[in-house]
C-alpha cells in the first residue's frame, strides 16, 4: 500500500455550532477511487471543500502530501454571461501549455469545442471541459463534486468509466461525490456513506448489506444495488452505447434511452 496523499483525522466542521461534518476520518492513496454518498445536507460538499482547503476544519487534522497537485471538478460551472470566454482561453488560464490543454480536451472527448464559447456548451460538455481542465494540471489527486450532473444516463456511465481510466493513466487518487448510486456501485473501489458522520464505509458489494446503509437509503435501494452490482456485465463506449464485454447475456437491468 502506497503512502497516503490525503489524510483526515477526526475532522469536524461546524456552522453556527452545528456540526455539518462530524469526526470524519478518511485516507486516500494513489490508485484509490473513493466515492462519498449520502442524503441531501449530509455534508458531502463541505467535506470535500475541507479536503481542498476551501473550508477550514473546526476540529481535527487535514494533512496533504507535500507538493500535492489537486485537480478539482466543481459541481457546476456557473459562468457570468457578461464574461466572454472561449474553451481555449478557459483552458489556458490553468497556466498549462496549449499542447497539454488540447491533449486534455481530447482525452475527455471535447477537443472539437476548442474555439467554442463556454456559454454555448451543454451540461455534459461543461462537465467534460471541467474534467479536462483538472486533467491538464496532471493532478495527483482528482476531486469531483457530482461530476455527472446534467449528463444524460448513457453519458453518465461513460463519464464514470472515463474517470476510472484516468485514475489508471495518471495513477492518481480520486475522491468524488455522487448521487448516482447504481453507477457508483459499479465504478468505485470504496464507498463512504456520509450523514454528517461516516455512517459506514467499505467496498460496494459489502456496503449495500450494511445495516447503517440500509437505514440511510432504505431496503429497496440497498437490494437493487446488490442485484445491480452482481449483474453488471457490459460496459459503455463514450457515446453511451452498450458495448458487450465477454459472453453477453443481454441481461441489462438498468434503463438505456
Amino acid at each position: 500500500m502506497s503512502e497516503a496523499l490525503v489524510q483526515l483525522q477526526r475532522v469536524t466542521v461546524q456552522f453556527d455550532d452545528r456540526p455539518v461534518v462530524d469526526q470524519v476520518t478518511l485516507q486516500a492513496s494513489r490508485g484509490d477511487i473513493i466515492t462519498i454518498i449520502g442524503p441531501n445536507g449530509a455534508g458531502k460538499t463541505t467535506l470535500i471543500k475541507t479536503i481542498l482547503g476551501i473550508q477550514k476544519a473546526s476540529q481535527g487534522r487535514v494533512s496533504l502530501a507535500p507538493g500535492l497537485t489537486i485537480g478539482y471538478v466543481p459541481q457546476h460551472l456557473t459562468l457570468e454571461a457578461t464574461l466572454p470566454l472561449s474553451v481555449r482561453r478557459f483552458m489556458l488560464l490553468s497556466g498549462q501549455s496549449l499542447t497539454d490543454c488540447r491533449a486534455a480536451l481530447k482525452r475527455t472527448g471535447v477537443d472539437h469545442l476548442l474555439d467554442a464559447s463556454v456559454h454555448h456548451l451543454s451540461g455534459g460538455e461543461k462537465q467534460r471541459l471541467l474534467l479536462a481542465r483538472a486533467l491538464a494540471r496532471k493532478p495527483d489527486l482528482l476531486v469531483l463534486d457530482e461530476p455527472a450532473q446534467g449528463v444524460d444516463i448513457n453519458g453518465q456511465a461513460a463519464l464514470y468509466e472515463l474517470i476510472r481510466e484516468l485514475r489508471d493513466e495518471l495513477h492518481c487518487a480520486v475522491i468524488m461525490i455522487s448521487h448516482d448510486l447504481h453507477l457508483v456501485m459499479a465504478a468505485t473501489d470504496k464507498v463512504i456513506c456520509l450523514n454528517q458522520h461516516v455512517c459506514c464505509s467499505g467496498y460496494p458489494a459489502d456496503i449495500s448489506h450494511d445495516p447503517a446503509f440500509i437505514e440511510t437509503f432504505g431496503h429497496q435501494v440497498a437490494e437493487s444495488l446488490a442485484v445491480y452490482h452482481h449483474r453488471h456485465n457490459h460496459s459503455h463506449d463514450l457515446h453511451g452505447d452498450v458495448v458487450d464485454t465477454k459472453g453477453t447475456q443481454g441481461a441489462c437491468n438498468h434503463e438505456h434511452h
Binding site: K49, L52, G53, I54, I70, Y72, P74, L77, L79, E80, T82, L83, P84, L85, S86, R89, F90, L93, S94, G95, S117, H119, H120, R133, R137, V143
Partner: protein, 269 residues
C-alpha cells in the same frame, strides 16, 4: 516644449487628455465591475468619496489622498460586514452609500469658510482640470494598469470561478483587496471627470457596450477602453458646441453608443 504648453494651456485639451486617461483605466476596471456584479459596490465607493472630501478639509490632507483612503476604508468595512451576514449585501451597500454621501454633505455644511463647488463634485467639473490633475490621472493610470497586467491571470481566474482559483493556489482574498485598492484610486481620479454620482456610469456603460461585440475577456477590455474614449471625446464636443455640462454629456454619449451597439450588433458569443 511650446507645443506641449500650447496644448496643456488650453482647458479644452486638458479636459480631453484627462478624460482619455480616465477612460484608459475605467475600461478594464469597468469590465471587472460588470463581471463581478460590482455596480452597486462601485456606487457606494463613489458616494463615500464625498465623505473623503469633507475629511480632507477637516484634517487638511491632500484631496485625492483623503478620497482614496476613505474609499479603501469603506471597501474593507463592506467586506467585513458582508461576512457577518447580518444583512444582505445590497442592503448594506444601500446603507453605506447614502450614509457616506449624507455625512459628507452634512460635514461640509459645518465648514462655512470652506467654499466647495458641490455641483462640480457631484456631476464632475471636467473643464476645470489643471495640470496637477493630469499628473494624478496619468500617474494613477500607470500604476493601476501595471498592477492589472501583473495580476491579470489570477484576477480573471478568481472572477470566473472563485473556488477553482483557490484550489489552484491563486490568492483570491489578496486579489480582491488589490482590486478594491484600484477601484478606490480610479474613483479618486475619475471624480474630477464625471463627479461622484456618475462615476459608475463611466465604469459600467463602456464595458457593457463592449460585451456585445467581444469574444474573449481581453477583447472586451480593449473595446471598453475604445468606447470610453468615444464617450469622453463625444461628450466634450457636445459640451463645447451645445454648452451642456461636460460630465453628464460624457455619460449621455456613452449611453447613446450603448444603445447603438445593442440595436445594431448581433447577440455575442
Amino acid at each position: 516644449m511650446s507645443i506641449i504648453d500650447a496644448v496643456l494651456g488650453d482647458f479644452f485639451w486638458r479636459a480631453l487628455i484627462g478624460g482619455l486617461g480616465v477612460a484608459l483605466v475605467a475600461g478594464p476596471l469597468g469590465c471587472f465591475v460588470v463581471w463581478r456584479r460590482l455596480a452597486y459596490f462601485g456606487d457606494t465607493l463613489a458616494h463615500s468619496a464625498l465623505l473623503g472630501i469633507a475629511l480632507s478639509f477637516l484634517i487638511s490632507v491632500p484631496l485625492n489622498l483623503a478620497v482614496i483612503i476613505t474609499c479603501v476604508v469603506i471597501a474593507l468595512a463592506l467586506v467585513l460586514l458582508s461576512r457577518t451576514r447580518v444583512l444582505a449585501t445590497d442592503t448594506l451597500l444601500g446603507i453605506l452609500a447614502h450614509s457616506a454621501l449624507a455625512i459628507g454633505l452634512v460635514a461640509l455644511s459645518f465648514m462655512p469658510d470652506v467654499r466647495v463647488d458641490l455641483t462640480g463634485l457631484l456631476f464632475g467639473d471636467l473643464l476645470a482640470m489643471n495640470r496637477q490633475d493630469l499628473l494624478w490621472i496619468y500617474g494613477g493610470a500607470a500604476f493601476v494598469l501595471t498592477l492589472l497586467a501583473i495580476l491579470w491571470r489570477g484576477l480573471l481566474m478568481s472572477t470566473i470561478h472563485e473556488e477553482l482559483a483557490r484550489v489552484e493556489g491563486i490568492p483570491v482574498e489578496r486579489l480582491r483587496l488589490a482590486l478594491m485598492l484600484m477601484f478606490s484610486l480610479v474613483i479618486a481620479v475619475a471624480m474630477k471627470i464625471v463627479g461622484v454620482l456618475l462615476i459608475t456610469a463611466l465604469l459600467v456603460i463602456p464595458a457593457a457596450t463592449a460585451r456585445r461585440l467581444a469574444k474573449n475577456p481581453e477583447h472586451m477590455v480593449g473595446l471598453a477602453v475604445v468606447f470610453g474614449f468615444v464617450a469622453v471625446a463625444g461628450g466634450l464636443s457636445l459640451s463645447w458646441h451645445l454648452d451642456t455640462p461636460a460630465g453628464p454629456s460624457v455619460v449621455v454619449t456613452a449611453f447613446v453608443s450603448f444603445l447603438l451597439v445593442y440595436s445594431l450588433a448581433r447577440k455575442p458569443a
